[in-house]
């Protein structure tokens, strides 16, 4: 294990204050089926100094989220923690609930990995942020709270904050929910912010803005930031120090630049090697001829309007979009958060309120189809939902979930389902014997992989993948991208790939469609669009994409802020 260094303090030994938060030999156990405890993370040591940013990276399922949650004792009841968490002289493991309460949110705040399930569906997000504020300041009037909520929403670049404050979580896009979460976390200017994958659902431009916001907070409040992320570009931009986790333990810890330059552990090296670089990926050529052919998906003049209620007007999320995907082709759909990407995806599988236009799947109009015809059409299209937690039935084991499509279409005999579930899970890197686990027993990335396995189960003709790798660390992501490409080459399915990660899009997509405010801004071959964007908007997107190189990325960030 490497010795701990203190790069942030290196230049100013005179101040040398102690760490604001110190995890010492922290382990988390989950209760096993036999009633005994199963160790999930082992002896994690981690220190966080004021004004410092530490990035916690590592393999999906390595225990990052669990460690983060154990700090404030937010683990589920089936878990216990051992070791110590020192904060401002108190041990948070031994602290009373009321002592913890006073710390939570005000002094140590937390952004959760999956914003959809982390927000209460029955309250508007304005209300929920307001409650976070009032939890520590009961003197504020309603008006003041409301002002503060709107201000916070503006700071996280929520478009149209007045309207969004009064929206319920299910009415927001993935990125908007995530920003609401962040707004809630920074509402009390905490001393420590633990952010678990805070930008997974954000497009690069918004992500950049959020990172700027965090940097500003860090400076102004000398806030310590523990950011869990798999995006090496983000790490490169914000982290002073990087802690790498694997299999429930810390395997390496190093200052950011040092880690990127000379990783000490093979795992870290592997991780870094796997990081895709925008512009370096060889853009994929046009799909292999034998699969090429007819259009699998054709969207003409698609317009989607979410109906308003009462005095609130309807909201037009997608307007006059034309789009085609041919067999064997991968089309990347990019665009800022809230631009209507998920909505288009949902419209394709018939889940969005299509107001106008046609959505043709292999020649059949989905928007008009009903009953058996629609079902038949859906056999050929599969969707990976943006939010893995909420798109998995909480009462079904993941094995049942992944084989769901097979069972629905009676693709294989029932007796074979269990075995097939194991294979499908194994394919995405989840042990086959986990098939009888429930979604809540998985990590975010694991859940996401279950969603992908489910989508691939039936060998569909078209896969609509909505941010399918947003929660995956680069090594798993690479593996999955390889898998996707491999399967695609074999079976020649078409794919509408929604992502904000341009480097991934570049790796995978033959063509790219750029979306903004519900309309198509630009589309064309990947190399052309990302290499030499025609539109100013696209250019900004490309420019904002972080690069996984600390020095370069910092320069870019500096440039951006100027």
């Amino acid at each position: 294990m490497t010795t701990r260094t203190d790069p942030a303090r290196a230049g100013s030994p005179t101040m040398a204050p102690g760490p604001v938060l110190e995890l010492h030999d922290l382990s988390v156990d989950f209760r096993g089926t036999d009633g005994g405890w199963v160790e999930t993370t082992h002896g994690v040591d981690l220190a966080l100094y004021p004004g410092e940013t530490v990035a916690l990276v590592g393999e999906s399922g390595s225990g990052k989220s669990v460690t983060a949650m154990s700090v404030l004792d937010l683990l589920p009841a089936s878990a216990r923690r051992r070791g110590s968490v020192l904060f401002d002289g108190t041990d948070l493991v031994a602290a009373s609930e009321s002592a913890l309460r006073r710390i939570r949110g005000r002094r140590i705040a937390m952004v959760f990995q999956e914003p959809m399930t982390a927000l209460n569906p029955v309250w508007t997000i304005g209300n929920q942020i307001g409650r976070a504020i009032r939890a520590h300041d009961r003197t504020l009037s309603r008006r003041q709270v409301r002002e503060r909520v709107l201000e916070l929403l503006r700071r996280v670049h929520m478009p149209d904050p007045e309207r969004r404050a009064d929206s319920y979580p299910h009415q927001l896009s993935g990125g908007q929910r995530q920003r609401a979460m962040i707004a809630m976390a920074i509402s009390c200017d905490p001393e420590v912010l633990i952010a678990d994958e805070p930008t997974t659902a954000l497009d690069v431009t918004v992500q950049a803005e959020i990172l700027d916001l965090l940097a500003e907070l860090r400076e102004r409040l000398s806030m310590a930031l523990l950011v869990i992320t798999h995006d090496m570009g983000v790490v490169a931009e914000v982290a002073d120090r990087v802690v790498v986790m694997r299999d429930g333990a810390v395997v390496e810890e190093a200052p950011c630049a040092q880690l990127f330059d000379a990783p000490a552990q093979p795992y870290t090296a592997e991780l870094l090697a796997a990081v895709p670089h925008l512009g370096r990926g060889a853009a994929r050529s046009v799909p292999a001829g034998d699969h090429g052919g007819g259009e699998v998906l054709r969207i003409d003049g698609l317009t989607v309007e979410y109906p308003g209620r009462g005095r609130r007007a309807a909201f037009r999320a997608v307007e006059q979009v034309d789009l085609t995907v041919s067999a064997g082709e991968v089309v990347g759909l990019v665009g800022e958060s809230g631009s209507g990407k998920s909505t288009i995806g949902r419209a394709i599988v018939g889940l969005a309120p299509v107001t106008a236009g046609r959505v043709e799947l292999a020649g059949a109009d989905v928007a008009l189809a009903r009953g058996a015809a629609l079902r038949a059409a859906r056999r050929d299209v599969a969707m990976v939902f943006q939010d893995p937690a909420s798109s998995l039935d909480p009462r079904r084991t993941i094995g049942e979930s992944v084989t769901g499509p097979l069972a629905i279409h009676r693709a294989i005999p029932r007796a074979g389902l269990h075995a097939r579930a194991g294979e499908l899970l194994d394919q995405v890197g989840i042990p086959a014997r986990w098939a009888d686990r429930y979604p809540h027993e998985l990590s975010g990335g694991q859940r996401q992989r279950v969603g992908i396995a489910r989508a691939l189960a039936l060998s569909p003709k078209l896969v609509v993948a909505d941010e399918p790798t947003s929660a995956l660390d680069v090594s798993v992501q690479t593996r999955l991208l390889d898998l996707l490409r491999e399967l695609q080459d074999q079976r020649g399915f078409a794919c509408l790939f929604i992502s904000h990660d341009l480097s991934v899009v570049e790796l995978l997509a033959h063509r790219v469609v750029v979306l903004r405010d519900g309309g198509v801004v630009e589309q064309g071959r990947t190399a052309d669009v990302l290499g030499s964007p025609a539109e100013e908007y696209t250019r900004r997107l490309v420019a904002a994409a972080p690069v996984p190189d600390p020095r370069a990325q910092r320069e870019r960030a500096e440039a951006r802020r100027r």
Partner: protein
Amino acid sequence: MLRYALRRCAVGVGLAWVVLTLIFLSLHAVPGDPAEVILSGEGAGAVTQEAVAQVRAELGLDRPLGVQYLQYLGGVLTGDLGTSFTDRAPVTEHLADRLPATASIVLVAAVIGISAGIVIGSWAGRGGRVADAVVGIGTGLGVSVPVYVLGSLLVLVFALTLRALPAGGYRAFADDPAGHLERLILPSLAVAVAFACVVARMTRSAVVETARQDWVRTGRAVGMTRAGVFRVHVLRNALAPVVTVSGLEIGTLLGSTVLVERIFNWPGTGSLLVDAVAQRDYPVVQGIVLAVAVAFIALNIVVDLVYGVLDPRVVHR
């Protein structure tokens, strides 16, 4: 919301009409002739055919059913619910006499039942195994003791032994508020116990269900108090099924307070209804059923509206 409520009200009027028609038809289909009942006291002598025919004519039962129905419906539309067969008083008068008595029991029982039930159920849902077991047994007892057994016990303890409260009887609130309330305690309690237990069970289940949701964790993470988290993030989400059962329980109570009314000698619609059915007093039965149905339909509309407020996903699609 308003449009929804209005539409529901319109449907509600239709429902009331359906209920009314059904009760009208089924009453006439039930064996037992009002005239014969009226003429047959305990030791009645010969009941002659003439007498029966005369009474039937007096009651208007000699006309064709369709005519009777239309006349009755016409009356209802103009606010005339007919007159009782047995005492010839307008049914509206009966309702005015009896509804307040039933309403006060139902109201008090509902308030006690809902609030106590939610508190108890929450305690069981949040508390440890001991609380859970205690409440499990307690509510099990509560829902399984027949109301008339409980009522009799309450009388035995509070009226006959402790002499703390009257054994029964009724005073109109307007005439004697203290007397009214004093006599209201035992019957409402007898009804409220089972009510509370039903609500408690539902609450417990729903609380257990929501307590594990991720947003509860979020609430704790932002530093809300345990009670605050429970109230805002657990209870509020858990209330939907509780509201549903509460509405149903109130509705059921409206029409079935007869047992308590008997035991506590409380002149509510329940006993009137049972007597009226026994005597085949059609207008009274119809009047009460209509009143209860209207109350119930209104209650259901309220429940559905509350449901929409409690769970915005239902309304805000």
